[in-house]
């Protein structure tokens, strides 16, 4: 129809782009008010100082940032946050992959299985975390069971172990959903073709299924890492204040100590971690393309 490609583009750019802009306008406004402005405000706040009463001074200074970067305590928190985030993500992935694969392959009851997988999301994370406190606590179900068998139970709560167990269970639905979206593209005839070429079940999984589900794996991992790093309710409840993470520290500084500039600083730090994770994700996606 169009004689030149340039004309085609022009025609498309005309009424199409203004319609696109109109449709995008509401979400742009909401995002500016609810996301961009608060984050900018937060960043600005990190350059101010707080009195012990919590009131903010009007001086712009780098004092809070300097104290943060010098203090090895905050560095250790940052590293622990990242390390636990990675660990939780890996364990969640390993536990979710077989479930997601099974659910996507199920001939009957596929919908029921998927609903079952994501049904924990219907309960608040607080309620589920209380459940884990009952199960993992000193006098809880699991230690009692281990004692029954005749072993001394390890400490499962108020330490990193508890946080990992709780967070893994909380995050599994998100991972399963991401993996399922990735499995959609996996064609069974590809696996059959591999079989006819002499690949056994395990080789088919390693050479065909895993590489083809990498996009879903990466997406789920990014999602779980971000959620693991930013969550504070579950770590706070299951660690009993004994595992300091960036998110819990922000909560303490903002609500307990009323040191808003420091909380703002830590928030910017966590945003940087997310940014790095996103970049890493982008690079990996490019490689597998």
């Amino acid at each position: 129809m169009n004689d030149t490609p340039a004309r085609g583009v022009e025609e498309k750019a005309g009424p199409g782009s203004s319609l696109l802009l109109t449709l995008l306008l509401p979400i742009i406004i909401v995002n500016i008010i609810a996301f961009v402005m608060p984050v900018a405000n937060l960043a600005a706040m990190s350059f101010r100082e707080a009195a012990s009463t919590g009131s903010l001074s009007d001086v712009v200074s780098l004092k809070v940032w300097a104290s943060l970067l010098e203090d090895s305590y905050y560095w250790s928190i940052a590293w622990r946050t990242i390390w636990l985030g990675v660990l939780i993500t890996i364990i969640t992935l390993i536990l979710s992959y077989p479930i997601a694969l099974f659910a996507s392959r199920a001939e009957r009851g596929r919908a029921v299985l998927i609903v079952l997988c994501i049904s924990p999301l219907l309960l608040s994370a607080v309620v589920r975390t209380y459940g884990w406190m009952v199960i993992l606590g000193e006098q809880g179900f699991l230690p009692a069971l281990i004692r029954q068998v005749g072993f001394t139970p390890p400490r499962l709560i108020n330490n990193e172990v508890g946080v990992v167990i709780g967070m893994t269970e909380i995050l599994m639905p998100y991972m399963i959903l991401s993996l399922l979206s990735g499995f959609g593209k996996l064609d069974v005839t590809l696996e059959q073709a591999a079989e006819t070429l002499g690949a056994n079940r395990f080789t088919v999984l390693r050479r065909i299924v895993l590489p083809l589900s990498l996009p879903g794996i990466l997406l789920g991992s990014l999602l779980c890492f971000v959620l693991a790093v930013s969550s504070f309710i579950t770590p706070k409840m299951l660690a009993g204040g004994r595992v300091a993470l960036l998110a819990t520290e922000i909560y303490d500084q903002a609500i307990v100590t009323l040191n808003w500039p420091l909380a703002a600083c830590l928030s910017v730090l966590i945003l940087t971690v997310f940014g790095a994770a996103l970049l890493f994700y982008g690079q990996l996606t490019k490689i597998i393309e």
Binding site: Q192, T196, L197, G198, A199, N200, L212, I288
Partner: protein, 357 residues
């Protein structure tokens, strides 16, 4: 390697069986076509041979060895899928090399064999590309190279040409046949297209409703079909029902016609004649009508489709279709003309109707 299938059956749960009591065998280097309408069980049969579907009964032997219980990855059969099933995350060369890697072939030999397999299908230059960067025809060649490079005992082709456009299909069909004969590889070819099957197969198995209807050479299938279904499936054909009126005579309405076979007088019979075996003669030129059967009729419709003219003639109490090659069709018939239909007794197929009583 020769392939033998003995009373093979497949049943899924409580449903009627997809394949029942199917037996056939292939000599080394033979190309056998499994032909039938969709849902006739031909693909299921192919999948049972490859091991992707397990047989509920029967036996499959390759070169005398029973493979019925062998898992797919131990069967050494090259399969070409309808969708080609090329691995999207691997390059063309990696796709072709996959089967050799599974067989633990040394690296340098893999490179050599992949190159010669790609050369066999005229794709020397695309080894480093991803499958999605190739055209449909090229993808299909890759799939063929991948199935052949492992030097399979049996080559199984599942509707390999159905995703190609008409022109390419004819080329590819002849190319597959050429490669198959050069490598002398025993091959089973599943298709629903009778022209495709007749063009390249040594023998054809016609299936219907999970059962074998007829097995034979393309000529046997076409000229002496065993059942009305086969006659109907392998080409256009006229169906007329009549009654035996003598040893080799059938009465159709008012007329009596001579047929190829013999029957019992009084029994009802289905008569079938291919449209292009009937000749059309003008009613006022009876001297041209020298044939076993000459039947009067009225021309109702003429359809021009390029290489043939298709006539619909009202005769024998129904509509009889007649095909005439356009290069012989200068005689100038018009709708409404009274005509004579002429054809040989040898072209008149008969099938005795089984009456319930």
């Amino acid at each position: 390697m020769h392939l033998k299938v003995e009373s093979l059956g497949k049943r899924y749960g409580i449903f009627p069986p997809s394949v029942t009591d199917l037996s056939f065998s292939l000599k080394h280097g033979e190309l056998l076509g499994l032909l039938g309408p969709s849902g006739c069980g031909k693909t299921t049969t192919l999948r049972m041979i490859s091991g992707l579907v397990s047989a509920t009964s029967g036996k499959i032997t390759v070169g005398g060895q029973d493979v019925t219980q062998l898992p797919t990855f131990r069967r050494n059969m090259g399969v070409m899928f309808q969708s080609y099933a090329l691995f999207p995350h691997m390059t063309v060369a990696e796709n072709v090399a996959f089967g050799l890697e599974m067989r633990k072939v040394p690296k340098d030999e893999i490179a050599r064999r992949v190159a010669s397999a790609l050369a066999l299908v005229h794709l020397e230059k695309v080894g480093e590309r991803k499958p999605r960067q190739l055209s449909g025809g090229q993808q299909q060649r890759v799939a063929l190279a991948r199935a052949l490079v492992i030097e399979p005992d049996i080559l199984l082709l599942d509707e390999p040409l159905s995703n190609l456009d008409a022109k390419l299909r004819d080329n590819m069909r002849n190319e597959i046949r050429d490669i198959q004969q050069r490598l002398s590889i025993t091959t089973v070819f599943v298709t629903h297209d009778q022209t495709e099957a007749m063009a390249i197969c040594d023998r054809i198995v016609v299936m219907n409703g999970g059962k074998l209807e007829q097995m034979g050479t393309p000529r046997e299938i076409y000229e002496t079909p065993a059942t009305p279904m086969v006659a109907d499936f392998v080409g256009r054909i006229n169906r007329l029902s009549g009654r035996w009126a003598g040893k080799d005579m059938v009465s159709l309405g008012e007329s009596h016609i001579r047929v190829r076979n013999q029957g019992v007088e009084g029994n009802s019979v289905l008569v079938m004649v291919r449209p292009h075996r009937i000749r059309l003669v003008k009613h006022d030129q009876p001297e041209g009508a020298t044939a076993d059967n000459v039947v009067p009729g009225v021309l109702r419709q003429i359809t021009y489709i390029g290489d043939t003219l298709q006539y619909a003639v009202e005769a024998l109490g129904g509509i009889v279709l007649v095909d005439e090659a356009t290069r012989f069709a200068a005689s100038g018939h018009h709708p409404g003309d009274r005509v004579l239909l002429c054809w040989a007794a040898g072209d008149t197929l008969t099938f005795d109707m089984v009456t319930p009583q």
